[in-house]
Amino acid sequence: MPESEALHASHRLEYPYSRSVGPVIGAFLTGLREGRLLGVRGAGGSVIVPPTEYDPTTGGDTGEMVEVGPGGVVESWAWVSHPLPKHPLPSPFAWALIRLDGADTALLHAVDSGGPDQLASGDRVTVRFRPAAERIGAMADIESFVPQGGAPR
């Protein structure tokens, strides 16, 4: 049989979506826009950040919103030596699990420490929000976390 070329066509699929986020996630995102970090009181009194609508272990309703941070402790981290265009920072940074002051769970975000030798689990960091005019109510309203006081180790 003679060889034939396989048919090719570009196929771009796009749909517009919207989200109703509900009262709990909505309060968290609104807090980000206002430059505040909010968690939610879970069953047994623990504070869950980012907040969940329902308790992840019992499935019960979660309670009041609780302000946390702006500082916290790095629980663990991984260094990104070559950031990609969609990463939150253009220069090398750490993805870190950060337990904010007043929270019982850790939040995943970027830490701009300057270098992997300038970050250790247990370090204190603090939030760095984008300027108020640029905040839209999304996780990216947090530009990154920075070592507390901003001083290198």
Binding site: L7, A9, S10, H11, L13, Y15, P16, Y17, S18, R19, S20, V21, G22, P23, I25, T52, E53, Y54, D55, P56, T57, T58, G59, G60
Partner: protein
């Protein structure tokens, strides 16, 4: 011998165009909590959760069951996702019923939903593909030619579709949970509405709704709740391809086989005589006469005559879609379950203003895809 299975709790949201006050998790939880309350149970009483919705592309939320476990009290329990297009709410209830009848679980929560306001679902149904003719029609455009074919075959007059559109919206006025409450609905209003897909006018088509439905199913030894149980007398599901040479799109074989199966289990030989009330998936008006024939309520070609004679009206001898049906509320993934749920409410005697007095045996039917997935159950007030 299979274990007996009963519906002991039902719940649903108020179906609306937009539920912007809740997330998807909040929407499903609303229906689930209502079903638990009706069953007089709590989350901890439930052994497993079965959830269904229509294609993920509708909300752009891939495999939503992965994050809905806490919202449905499913943490630490088995949770199953079902997907059979528009019939999914029905087949989801069937999977849940089979977990009871197989003796695996004693109490199963089953939930189905759609949040159409999160997307533009109609176009997500007709994705253009390379090297294929674009459909670009939405569901109505797909079904309209089949309706024309039915009209030609049966000789049904044009106004039959409008009669169904009016009848189901009148029923919806009795149902506080229905999306559409059109107090002034009449033949003229339907006739004056815009032609969408010939012969279907705007008011002969279902709305786009946000909504959820939930039921608690139970084994015989675990029956609970504020109303008598609805006993499951038969369950059936059939499928066939969307297109193949010789396929009867007007009267699909999968539907006929499915009803024969479920009637056989329930001991039904004459549906019109033995079934007191039916909830049948009618998203476009003409599907009532078409399904009357497909479901064997009459001879071929006679479906429209039953509609015309008022047999399917609220005060007819075989009331169809007492809830207002899909024509009055269409949270797609939940729409099939709402059919199953409404007939459970009827035989439990809890349907309020839309209760058919003395309903003892009832049929719930859902269809999906290109009239290619069918799910049905027969429920009764007496044990099977």
């Amino acid at each position: 011998m299979a274990e007996r299975c009963a519906v002991v709790g039902v719940g649903q949201t108020h179906h609306k165009a937009k539920r912007e006050d809740v997330s998807i998790a909040g929407l499903v939880r609303e229906a689930a909590k209502m079903a638990l309350a009706d069953a007089d149970l709590t989350w901890t009483d439930i052994d497993a959760v079965v959830i269904g919705k229509a294609p993920d592309m509708f909300e752009g939320n891939m495999m939503p069951e992965l994050y809905l476990a806490p919202a449905l009290g499913a943490v630490g329990k088995p949770m199953f996702r079902v997907h059979t297009a528009g019939s999914v709410g029905g087949s989801t209830a069937l999977v849940a019923a089979h977990l009871i009848s197989s003796g695996i679980h004693r109490r199963v929560l089953t939930v189905a939903y759609e949040k159409q306001s999160d997307s533009d679902a109609m176009w997500a149904l007709s994705v253009p593909q390379p090297f294929a003719a674009p459909l670009l029609a939405g569901a109505g455009g797909y079904f309209a030619p089949h309706i024309r074919a039915y009209m030609r075959r049966s000789g049904a007059p044009e106004y039959i579709g409008r009669m169904v559109a009016v009848k189901d919206r009148l029923n919806a006025l009795r149902n506080p949970y229905a999306h559409l409450h059109l107090a002034d609905i009449d033949m003229k209003m339907v006739e004056d509405s815009m032609m969408l897909w010939d012969p279907l006018r705007y008011l002969e088509a279902c709305p786009s709704s946000d909504g959820a439905a939930a039921m608690v199913l139970s084994s015989e030894d675990a029956v609970s709740g504020h109303y008598p149980p609805a006993w499951v007398h038969g369950t059936a599901m059939r499928s066939e391809p969307t297109m193949f040479a010789g396929r009867d799109q007007v009267n699909p074989r999968a539907g006929r086989d499915c009803s024969a199966d479920v009637y056989g289990q329930a001991g039904i030989t004459n549906p019109r005589e033995q079934i007191d009330v039916a909830e049948v998936y009618v998203p476009f008006s003409w599907y009532e006469p078409m399904w009357l024939e497909n479901l064997g309520f009459c001879d071929l070609g006679d479906g429209w005559k039953l509609t015309e004679a008022g047999a399917t009206a609220f005060d007819g001898d075989i009331p169809w879609n007492t809830s207002g049906g899909v024509l009055s509320s269409n949270p797609i993934g939940a729409s099939g379950m709402l059919r199953f749920l409404e007939v459970a409410m009827q035989v439990r005697g809890q349907a309020g203003e839309h209760q058919i007095d003395g309903a003892k045996v009832a049929l719930g039917q859902a269809y999906g895809g290109g009239s290619q997935f069918f799910s049905m159950w027969v429920v009764g007030s007496e044990k099977p």
